[in-house]
Symmetry: C2
Subunit: 201 residues, 2 copies
DNA sequence: ACGCAAAGATGCGGATTCCGCAAGATTGAG
DNA sequence: CTCAATCTTGCGGAATCCGCATCTTTGCGT
């Protein structure tokens, strides 16, 4: 990767991280595009060369994680489908390696801010939209594994959307819970129930 | 219901229908709030008293249908959970009673327009957000039936999000297919596979 | 090492959207 | 019949998003 692409990736990362941090700190309505651009060290106009709006910038990291799930699903075609799915999801969402790169001073305050952020309807929509984009990739990967065609068969899309639904539900429960329930077991539990057919308890 | 509430409901319906029709006909970017308001016979400012934006108006009917699924789920607590769910979803989405109220001249062109509309990322997000709003209601209804608490248990949210995922997937497949596959069987199939645990084919 | 073509960053201006506020009109209850 | 609550509307401002023109930076061939 040349200097050009690296700088572009850095700018994108700086913008999305700044957007996320400022939104968690102040709330969506108290962050202007101008603020995000300033925090990332670029002009406001440049922000719109990378993202169409605040929302897209904020969920960019979530989108990346979801897309990497599809990548992991393409790695070992021999592994049973749901084993691979569980492994892929846990890898991307459980330890949250991304958070390690941006340590947060006050964890409690951060969690509160994230809750506020996801209470915003616009952000929820943006988040789900990102999941839908990734869903197409996941469906393609599932199609490759199972010999089904996403254009013709319902199965791969159904699996992909169910996986994203389970992931979203587990994350929502993680954020709702107090004291917080670890995300990893929640994700594993949700996917296990899904493969068991969601029988009435 | 008094005159006041009826007129309000009528204005809301007129606005959402106008928003949907104009968007399907011209594409999202070629419809301004002003146009929608004019088609509904109110001032542009009034539009914003009902909806926060074009997207919310357009998906208002979808949201209503999803919310009615939750209502149906509260009707007969004796029926097995998944039977009730399947019945509720098919009732609201299969025959599309809402479309009967607004007959479309050129069906083929309408379908094309709807495809274009849902290709718009912003609309996809809005649609999913509406589904998420309804999800809370559905989760509550499932919680009542199964004796689980949405605040404490993963199960009701998991079922609700899985149902919405299956519904969305079936609708997407219906719109993708050519010649069109009837929506009813697709919905039934998707929900059946979900209860079967999505085994690899 | 040099210079050129491609790609990105920036500033400006316009169109649009969304919301708060205040005034006028309509409805429903007493 | 009267009045308070509610709804509608116009105005104005803040913010967003995008096209266009210009300037700077990067990558590559010579």
């Amino acid at each position: 990767m040349g200097l050009r692409e690296r700088k572009k990736a850095e700018t994108r990362a700086a913008l999305s991280w700044a957007a996320l941090r400022l939104t968690v700190e102040r709330g969506l309505d108290n962050v202007r595009v101008e603020d995000i651009a300033e925090a990332a060290g670029v002009s406001p106009r440049t922000f719109n060369n990378y993202f169409s709006g605040k929302g897209e910038a904020i969920v960019a990291r979530h989108l990346d994680r979801c897309l990497r799930v599809a990548d992991v699903l393409r790695e070992d075609p021999e592994e049973p489908l749901w084993d691979a799915i569980t492994r892929a999801v846990l890898t991307q969402f459980a330890p949250d390696a991304a958070a390690t790169a941006h340590p947060v001073a006050d964890t409690a305050q951060w969690v509160t801010g994230v809750r506020m952020m996801l209470a915003e309807p616009a952000l929820r929509g943006e988040m789900l939209r990102a999941g839908a984009v990734a869903e197409a990739e996941i469906a393609a990967a599932v199609g490759d594994r199972t010999g089904t065609a996403p254009e013709r068969d319902l199965y791969p899309h159904l699996v992909a959307s169910a996986v994203m639904a389970a992931t979203n539900t587990a994350m929502a429960h993680h954020l709702r819970s107090d004291p917080p329930v670890p995300l990893g077991p929640l994700l594993a539990d949700a996917l296990a129930q899904l493969t068991a057919g969601l029988p009435a308890p």
